[in-house]
């Protein structure tokens, strides 16, 4: 047996939806013991292809072969039975149940006829965890575990069901740099034991670091396959976007002036009454970008809500250009010159059922020239909307199209157009490029630098450390609700920030089982 059949072959996969070809004759093969990266922008067809593999969609044309044998995958249960495991970007775990309970959900070991054999399941999980170096306590409750460990549980869940082919969808999106290193170690060990992995990502450096082969898809077609040793990040980006892309932001020199936003000893509680922001103090000067790095869920969300008037702080002070705005309403804060690009654009930033024009005036509809008394001036609104659509390159047939019909990148451009055009003194950007393709992210970064140069004080909160490192003049790190450090971007190293994100700069070593709190 000289030529072993690949673990997985997808041949000429085509999937059409009315008016769009999501997958157009895609070929993909996965050798056993290989990490194959699938690279592409949002909407390139990665998700459709994986949905086909996992039995969530059926292809119009093409065939799937497992170990050389043609198969039809009817549904996810069928996919699992054939040894395909999927680790989604958003974990599907029951927070109040233990690791073991989550893993055996639907596959319970049974003792007698009705009793669930928890001990047997725990034993099997321990054995699997040991075999692949996935340190997890089977009896820990999910909600006590850090995100990195929850991801290991997801991987264990797939292995427990005897998956030989693992699909990981953006697995590093929620991880700290050190957690990313750990998961890479685990993946290498898995392929060493004969598993095969499809690694979906849009992060070029990670793909270069982990993949054995890289396949790039754009607009439903494979546009190239590369070996990491024979390509560069620049080439991959160009393949992915279809044009030359500037990967690093040319941020030039900043010229900070007087302090604009001042935050003093701020304390904020979340909906459950837990204090998630403690003792936070900082100031941002005009013409300066302060980046806040931190693993998601360390108080960034509540900090932003307190600054933008969506949540009342329990103590501390907030002021903009000398005006005290502690506990002020969103409207007052906005009137004082604060613009806010929210982290959850579907929840806060847009009304998807409304036209783009209405969304572009969502925070200024009540003022001239968009309103006269209580009457809206629809002519003024639509004229302005058309200008903004052109100025911010929002790809839509018309400003009367509903915001919900836009792609994620264009939706974010609507929010950016609205908030940047208000000529803000302070700009709060929460995850401004989350889930966006390279091209849209590049655009928003350039606009942000332009605002900084125009004298706006910018607060940038992002779970993407690279984004914070690239744009910021100073970098603060949030850890368990506290701003544990603010460092100069020039002198900050990636490793130093990563360590602060993971440990808060304390001596304490992270729990080897990764229990948070």
């Amino acid at each position: 047996m000289t030529e072993q059949a690949p673990a997985l072959e997808m041949h000429g996969i085509t999937k059409r939806y009315p008016g769009v070809v999501a997958n157009d004759g895609i070929d993909l093969d996965l050798r056993s013991g290989e990490i194959h990266a699938l690279l592409g922008e949002n909407g390139a067809g990665k998700t459709t292809l994986m949905n086909i593999l996992y039995g969530l969609a059926s292809p119009d044309e093409g065939e799937i072969r497992l170990d050389g044998a043609a198969v039809t995958i009817a549904d996810p249960a069928d996919a699992i039975a054939r040894g395909i495991g999927m680790v989604h970007q958003h974990f599907m775990l029951v927070p109040v149940m233990t690791v073991a309970e989550n893993i055996m959900l639907g596959e319970e070991s049974i003792r007698g006829r009705i009793f669930v054999d928890g001990a047997e399941a725990s034993r099997r999980i321990r054995a699997l965890a040991e075999q692949f170096g996935l340190a997890v306590d089977p009896d820990a409750r999910i909600d006590t575990l850090s995100v990195g460990v929850q991801q290991r549980v997801e991987i264990l869940k797939a292995l427990y069901r005897d998956a030989r082919i693992l699909v990981l969808d953006e697995p590093t999106a929620v991880l700290t740099p050190s957690e990313t290193e750990e998961i890479f170690g685990i993946l290498r060990r898995l392929v060493g034991e004969g598993h095969s992995i499809i690694f979906i990502s849009h992060k070029l450096n990670e793909v270069m670091a982990i993949a054995d082969r890289i396949t790039v898809i754009r607009r439903g077609r494979v546009v190239g396959s590369r070996l990491p040793g024979e390509t560069s990040e620049e080439e991959l980006a160009e393949l992915m976007v279809g044009r030359e892309v500037q990967l690093t932001v040319d941020r030039g020199e900043s010229h900070p002036a007087e302090p604009i936003l001042r935050v003093g000893d701020l304390h904020v509680r979340d909906d459950r009454g837990h204090e998630t922001v403690s003792r936070v103090s900082f100031e941002i000067r005009a013409g300066e970008i302060l980046g806040i790095a931190g693993v998601a869920g360390n108080g960034q969300e509540e900090l932003v809500q307190a600054l933008t008037g969506l949540r009342k702080p329990v103590a501390g002070s907030i002021s903009i250009a000398g005006t005290d705005l502690t506990g002020a309403s969103s409207r007052r804060v906005a009137e004082a010159g604060l613009s806010h690009v929210p982290g959850d654009r579907h929840r806060f930033g847009l009304v998807l059922a409304f036209p783009i024009a209405d969304n572009l005036v969502l925070t200024s509809y009540y003022r001239a020239p968009f309103a006269r008394g209580i009457a809206r001036d629809d002519a003024a609104i639509s004229a302005w909307a058309e200008d903004e659509v052109a100025r911010f390159d929002i790809r839509t047939p018309s400003a009367t199209a509903l915001a919900g019909t836009l792609s994620g990148g264009n939706q974010q451009k609507v929010i950016v157009a609205r908030e940047f055009s208000r000529d803000p003194k302070v700009l709060v950007l929460d995850q401004p490029t989350r889930g966006l393709d390279v091209g849209s992210a590049e655009f928003i970064h350039r606009q942000t630098i332009a605002k900084r140069d125009a004298g706006t004080a910018v607060l940038l909160i992002s779970a993407e450390l690279d984004e914070v490192l690239e744009l910021s003049d100073r970098i603060g790190v949030m850890f368990r609700g506290e701003l544990v450090a603010i460092v100069d971007a020039e002198s900050a190293s990636r490793e130093e920030i990563g360590l602060l994100m993971a440990t808060g700069g304390r001596e304490a070593r992270p729990d080897p089982l990764g229990r948070a709190g």
Binding site: G19, T47, T48, G309, S330
Partner: protein, 386 residues
């Protein structure tokens, strides 16, 4: 001619996403009703009669539109439904399900006739507007209560408005048997309206439009006013934003709790106006056990009209026509008037289960093209992802 055709075609293309499902629901409801009528003929003395369904619809149509008097009857029947439908539709736009139109209608109605009877001998230009305003204001107050409860305590408006419907009906009985009871009749009722009653509209050509009262004009005028308020004012924009995405409304600096109270109050106001107009214009007096289905029919009207004021106007006329034509149909086709309730109920059923209507008539979702697929797969992916 050709230009007219293309204009009609583009007009239809633009309207289709909004009207296709309601029209389909009506067609399916007529079909289901036909089958029921057909089956029912097996159990009658005359035996199986395949022409019966046609007789029903011919009877209904003739009864509703076959003559000036019939048309005016349809319009008068539609009048409270227009205002009630606008009340429910306004709530829907604000993200609120006002099931309390029934109670708001009754409260508005009883205060309008009660106060109206007290002012029966006052000058008409005082008595009539006062009675109308009092009834409307009481309806608004009856809508404000569930609005305030929701804004302050989070109590769901569906629960509170249902409760307030019962309380409203009881208050009607109390008022008619107590403070508003007028002696001198063979049964317990409110007094004569005298100068408080709504005048009929002028009929210079003598067409016999004498049943059309001022309330008809009020209801028809309310349609563009409510449309303008919702679509062309800043406060209407705020109400729609809260309805479509309350978090985004908060983000944009709007005040959702105030807007919830306002929306419920305005919804109650329209419902109270419906009750006042109906009583001051048509029924003239109230009895303790006053029965009406306007509050419930208004929900059907709003759903069928997709909360769009013009759609509500057309839906109200349809339901008004069904009510107005029912009598004639019963006489001609010998089918009980209750078949009208069946048709109405089945329409509602198909509106709720619009998937069936879409499947039968091959109607796509009200979005178009590539973006819709993108949005759909994105939401699906998110659903799958957790």
């Amino acid at each position: 001619m050709k230009r007219l055709m293309t204009r009609l075609r583009t007009g239809w293309a633009r309207a289709k996403p909004f009207v296709a499902v309601p029209l389909g629901a009506i067609a399916l409801a007529m079909f289901v009703a036909s089958i029921i009528v057909l089956v029912s003929t097996f159990f009658t003395d005359t035996g199986f009669d395949p022409t019966k369904p046609f007789a029903v619809f011919i009877g209904l149509f003739g009864g509703a539109f076959g003559g000036i008097d019939k048309v005016t009857n349809t319009i008068v029947n539609a009048t409270p439904l227009i205002l009630g439908g606008l009340a429910v539709g306004l709530g829907f736009k604000g993200g609120l399900f006002n099931i309390g139109v029934q109670g708001q209608f009754l409260m508005g109605a009883v205060f309008a006739v009660g106060i109206g009877a007290m002012l029966a001998s006052a000058p008409a230009f005082i008595a009539m507007p006062v009675a109308l305003l009092v009834g409307t204001a009481v309806g608004a107050f009856w809508g404000f209560i569930p609005g305030a409860l929701k804004a302050w305590t989070g109590a769901h408006e569906v629960v509170t408005t249902i409760m307030l419907n019962f309380i409203g009906a009881s208050i009607v009985a109390f008022l008619v048997l107590g403070p508003f009871l007028t002696e001198g009749y063979s049964f317990a009722r409110t007094g004569d309206l005298g100068n408080s009653g709504l005048p009929t509209l002028p009929d210079p050509l003598g067409l016999g439009l004498d049943r059309l009262h001022l309330g008809v004009l009020i209801a028809v005028l309310a349609v563009p006013i409510v449309w303008w308020f919702l679509e062309r004012t800043t406060i209407g924009f705020e109400i729609r934003t809260v309805g479509a995405n309350p978090d985004a409304a908060r983000y944009a600096g709007m005040r959702p709790s105030f807007l919830i109270m306002l929306t419920m109050t305005l919804s109650g106001l329209l419902a109270g106006l419906a009750g006042s107009v109906e009583l001051l214009g048509t029924s003239q007096y109230m009895v303790a056990s006053y029965g009406t289905t306007v509050g419930w029919d208004s929900i059907t009207v709003a759903l069928l009209g997709r909360s769009n004021p013009v759609g509500i106007l057309l839906s109200a006329i349809l339901l008004g026509a069904l009510r107005a034509g029912a009598g004639a149909m019963q006489i001609e086709a010998h089918i009980p008037v209750e078949i009208v309730d069946v048709i109405q109920a089945v329409i509602l059923l198909f509106l709720a289960a619009d998937v069936i209507v879409r499947r039968v008539f091959r109607i796509r979702e009200a979005k178009g093209g590539i973006e819709a697929v993108g949005a759909a797969t994105e939401t699906y992916a998110r659903k799958v992802a957790g």
